[in-house]
């Protein structure tokens, strides 16, 4: 049976394609996405309060390196095969090297609804994975000696709403611990799925508006936006195995690496690589990759994780 939150997403897409007047007021959307980011941060922080930092540090490093490599891998494909301009190829590559918190939230909810255990400290890896692709993207677009104002760019990255809320949630969760967090559980944890449903309704509407601009950009972008997450998921699966994650954890990590950014990276790219066309990368990440990951990707990565564990486990 389909998870109702997925039905909310499909409902949003359908309403959007039908050009319905429906939309979440922007303040409500801001509030809903704020709650999601804080909840994910809090969960990661709680886990951090239970674990030794030294066991997580190597994983953070490995994920950081993957964040650097993914855009380097995507860039030549986009530039040579796709025929995109340098700035556009670099910007799209950065989107696919970074992550989508919305996709992560759906993966978490998917695992929870099937009662599958996964490593709860993944939000920390999520935060780490947001950043390196942005830097690589800017360097790919502009080269090393380029007069990029790194002060402005790093402010855009680290003071962006997403990172601030995630890190704030992480720290609050870490300091409060499991007992301390009980008082705020009803808002952040108990309501999580309802909040996620509203978020996905709006995301469906936005995806639909991007799908309608797809015609302009041709088949290559569609193929890239589906193939790239599949390849990234394979990297995610192998990393999950390398870290000794459970099946659930492997699948969530694969989802994380397969996801493409649509908040942090667009904002940073607009400021630092203004000659890149923002519609191209947003059409790919919001119009294709996000719906693909939500509807097909997550269950598929779960199956891939099961298979991988069977093969490794014998």
């Amino acid at each position: 049976m389909l998870d109702p939150i997925i039905l909310f997403f499909i409902f949003g897409i359908a309403a959007g394609l039908l050009r319905s007047e429906l939309r979440l007021p922007s303040q409500v959307y801001d509030f809903v996405s704020m709650l999601l980011l804080l909840t994910i941060g809090l969960k990661g922080g709680l886990e951090l309060s239970k674990q030794e930092f030294s066991t997580i540090a190597p994983q953070m490093f490995a994920v950081f390196v993957v964040g650097l490599i993914l855009p380097l891998f995507a860039y030549p494909i986009l530039k040579i095969w796709g025929g995109f301009k340098r700035a556009d190829a670099a910007s799209i590559a950065a989107h696919y090297g970074s992550v989508s918190v919305g996709t992560y939230a759906v993966a978490v909810s998917y695992m929870a609804s099937l009662n599958i255990h996964f490593e709860e400290h993944l939000p920390i890896l999520l935060v780490v994975l947001e950043i390196p692709a942005i830097i690589v993207g800017i360097l790919l677009a502009k080269g090393l000696s380029n007069g990029t104002n790194w002060k402005v760019v790093s402010h855009e990255i680290f003071a962006g709403k997403g990172i601030v809320l995630l890190i704030g949630g992480l720290l609050i969760g870490w300091f409060s611990g499991v007992e301390g967090i009980k008082t705020i559980e009803p808002l952040f944890f108990d309501l999580f799925k309802g909040i996620l449903a509203l978020f996905l309704l709006e995301m469906g509407l936005i995806s639909a508006s991007k799908i309608s601009s797809l015609k302009q950009y041709g088949l290559f972008l569609v193929i890239f936006a589906i193939t790239m997450p599949l390849l990234s998921a394979l990297i995610g699966i192998s990393m999950g195995l390398m870290f000794g994650f459970s099946i659930g954890g492997t699948a969530v990590l694969a989802t994380l690496i397969a996801s493409a950014s649509y908040i942090a990276v667009p904002a940073a790219m607009r400021i630092s690589v203004p000659e890149a066309n923002p519609t191209l990368s947003l059409t790919a990440s919001l119009g294709i990759t996000f719906p693909f990951n939500i509807l097909i990707g997550i269950p598929l990565y779960h199956q891939m994780a099961i298979k991988a564990h069977q093969i490794i486990g014998g």
Partner: protein
């Protein structure tokens, strides 16, 4: 209306993502204040319907003297017109308490 109550009103309609950097530069041009409102519309870069952060527009209004207005327009032309969704126009306005600007 006396000549010294006449000031320039510069109006800029552009992308939300530019807000922080643009405001800094406007102040560097000598503007002493500004007003920002959210905006929606359609132009040469397609519909800016405010549905997504990347599609949100702002409208910045600055009352200033002719010299500052000129500096702002020059700065916009040099740094922003090429790559950003941006419209700007300047008009004469008569203001009360003109010494404020």
């Amino acid at each position: 209306m006396t000549a010294d109550t006449i000031k320039k009103l510069v109006t800029i309609i552009t992308e939300l993502s530019l807000e922080t950097t643009l405001i800094r530069e406007i102040e560097q041009c000598g503007a002493t204040g500004y007003t920002i409102t959210n905006a929606r519309g359609k132009g040469s870069r397609g519909e800016r319907d405010a549905e997504w952060d990347a599609d949100r527009n702002i409208r910045v209004e600055i009352v200033c003297n002719a010299k500052v207005a000129e500096a702002i327009n020059y700065m916009l032309q040099e740094k922003y017109y090429d790559h950003f969704a941006m419209v700007s126009f300047t008009q004469d306005v008569s203001v009360l308490r003109a010494n404020k600007f």
